[in-house]
Symmetry: C2
Subunit: 408 residues, 2 copies
Amino acid sequence: MDRYNHRKSQMLLKITTADGKPLKNAEIAVRQIKHKFLFGCAEFSVVPFVNGEFSGDFKEKAEMAFEKFVELFNFATLPFYWGRFEPVRGKPDTQRLKNAAQWLKNAGFVLKGHPLCWHTVTADWLLELTNDQILEAQLMRIKREVSDFAGLIDMWDVINEVVIMPNFNKYDNGITRICKQFGRMGLVKMVFDAAREANPKATLLINDYIVSDAYEILIEALLDKGVKIDAIGIQSHMHQGFWGVEKTQEVLERFSRFGLPLHFTEVTLISGKLMPPYIKDLNDYKPESWPSTIECEERQAMEATLFYKILFSHPLVEAITWWNFIDTFAWLGAPAGFITKDGRIKPIYDALYNLIKNDWWTGTQTLVTDHDGFVRVSGFMGEYEVSFKDKKSKFTLDRKYEVAQIIL
Amino acid sequence: MDRYNHRKSQMLLKITTADGKPLKNAEIAVRQIKHKFLFGCAEFSVVPFVNGEFSGDFKEKAEMAFEKFVELFNFATLPFYWGRFEPVRGKPDTQRLKNAAQWLKNAGFVLKGHPLCWHTVTADWLLELTNDQILEAQLMRIKREVSDFAGLIDMWDVINEVVIMPNFNKYDNGITRICKQFGRMGLVKMVFDAAREANPKATLLINDYIVSDAYEILIEALLDKGVKIDAIGIQSHMHQGFWGVEKTQEVLERFSRFGLPLHFTEVTLISGKLMPPYIKDLNDYKPESWPSTIECEERQAMEATLFYKILFSHPLVEAITWWNFIDTFAWLGAPAGFITKDGRIKPIYDALYNLIKNDWWTGTQTLVTDHDGFVRVSGFMGEYEVSFKDKKSKFTLDRKYEVAQIIL
């Protein structure tokens, strides 16, 4: 049995020439040009890079890195942390983000904004408001970003880490305050409603790092309450070690019972020494240096390959996003990326490239149309190019079986 | 500051003689005869004991044990595990349970039935039914027991361990099947509605051993859905070691945010070697013998004292139930009781007796009425006896301040 069968489809092309006549008994070439599956990465340095804020060696390294970035991925997460996006009330960083989004969109990327509501890195100025005012500001901010970016970004992590949100006690913040008052259920409903209203076509996610019963129950309750969650976001920051096959499968089983798409939104496997197991909040670990090592780079490549294979073989998983691409900009200073601080490409790049653009990619096929111009094609779902001599056209291979009319 | 202030109250008694005249300037005695707080125990051998099924040495030991039992406790949990209560469909064990309940009620006990819906020890014959039939049988069984025992048992653990219920996979059972189909939210709503309909005055609990965010979120979602939970049941089987001050306070803080009464429904601290920490499901631990030892009995008494003090000092805690009283009948064969297998009373008995009937008990007070027959009384909430010479009457000291008319 093909464990990736659910990633493939087939369809019938009816090929005609410009004058409407069937292209009979002709040898055509068909090749995949894009995946339907979202292979993503969150590399937030794309924002200063695209906005021309890098110079010298920094700029050169970034140019090389983003060339590799667009070769491998088709999906990117952009940062909308409220405290950074709007540090001064009324002055959102909209234009810089639009520039980055447009650049990625031009490179063929699907985009997601992250996150619209979160208790961490939220705006400090919320602390001066009453709870009703905080809620109003939160909902307005959601409507503003989701409207402003509609067409560029049509996918959002609407709310992040709501499992612990009302109990978060490391420091006071506006979002924990309103989550305590309105409850998890109440707050999630309101932020989803606001995002939906601003862009009815958007794909809206809930996202969490808690992968236990607590998150499962939260989702069950939200669905029961009628909150329309389009996809379940699951973080997997494995700084303390790879989950392994069993835990990965257990998580997939737990969250697949809803029949909703699963997005692995934040995948980290590091190419350095593991964070010790006694650390509970990953933010508390602050080593003086955290180098990438040859042996650990091998481990990172092997574990990532195994992880991606398990996820890609599960029918409900629709997206995997690595967190992040370049060690220089990595969260916690961890060697989490595909590129070391000195610009060296790690083995994980080739390992995943080989999966995404070789094993799971339908290369050029030479096919022959029948006497009515029909030809059957099959392969991994996504966008395809069909060519006959110097003429070219495109079609999309998706789950639904259908006949495509193509003019060459 | 008195950490038990919320357990106390005061009131004004207006004492008259039988002819309606004030009992002026008289020296009266007031003494507590019962706690408002529910100090409970689950000792299921009360059922065969009361039904005369014990004989010989067994009977003698049980007689001694239940004498100590009624001296200390005012609250008892009775077993309604479906698989044992109705092993053959249509033949429930109603009469034996009624006998035990009546015996305890006569001894002044408040009673709770446990549990009405649970995936463990449920009826095997459910496996032959369709899911709709299982649900119907479950709801009918709830209505039957709650109606049959109304007046005797007006408090129920309606549903047990629903956090893991749909994911329970040790063996197939009817309740996990319907929880998977109807969801946790749906099932809890239906079983609570059935119990409420059968006895609108009953106190209805949800009960779980999971004390993490998962249970908190479940409760939040159920309340949001409109399920009327009268008290939150929290298990605390500490076979692997005492929670300690921090975890106990953390659990109290987590579940107190709903403002609902908290019942510690299943407290275990053992007087023997601790179960190893690597055991995940306590049922998996099966030592050849599990003796009670002198040193561990001291530890048990000290930890129980500390645990009860923390719970009694929290305003929302209204009940604490030990699990169970006699080692001979203990779950898992653990030395969990107050009485060893050879009938010896452990130190925990005296330690808790000293708290419940001495430190937290208002002993006899001699008071003098004023010239209008009024006298102010104060003490731990509960029932009191007031006496003047050979005449006696009773009153209840509760949270609400009021004047009681008493005829002596």
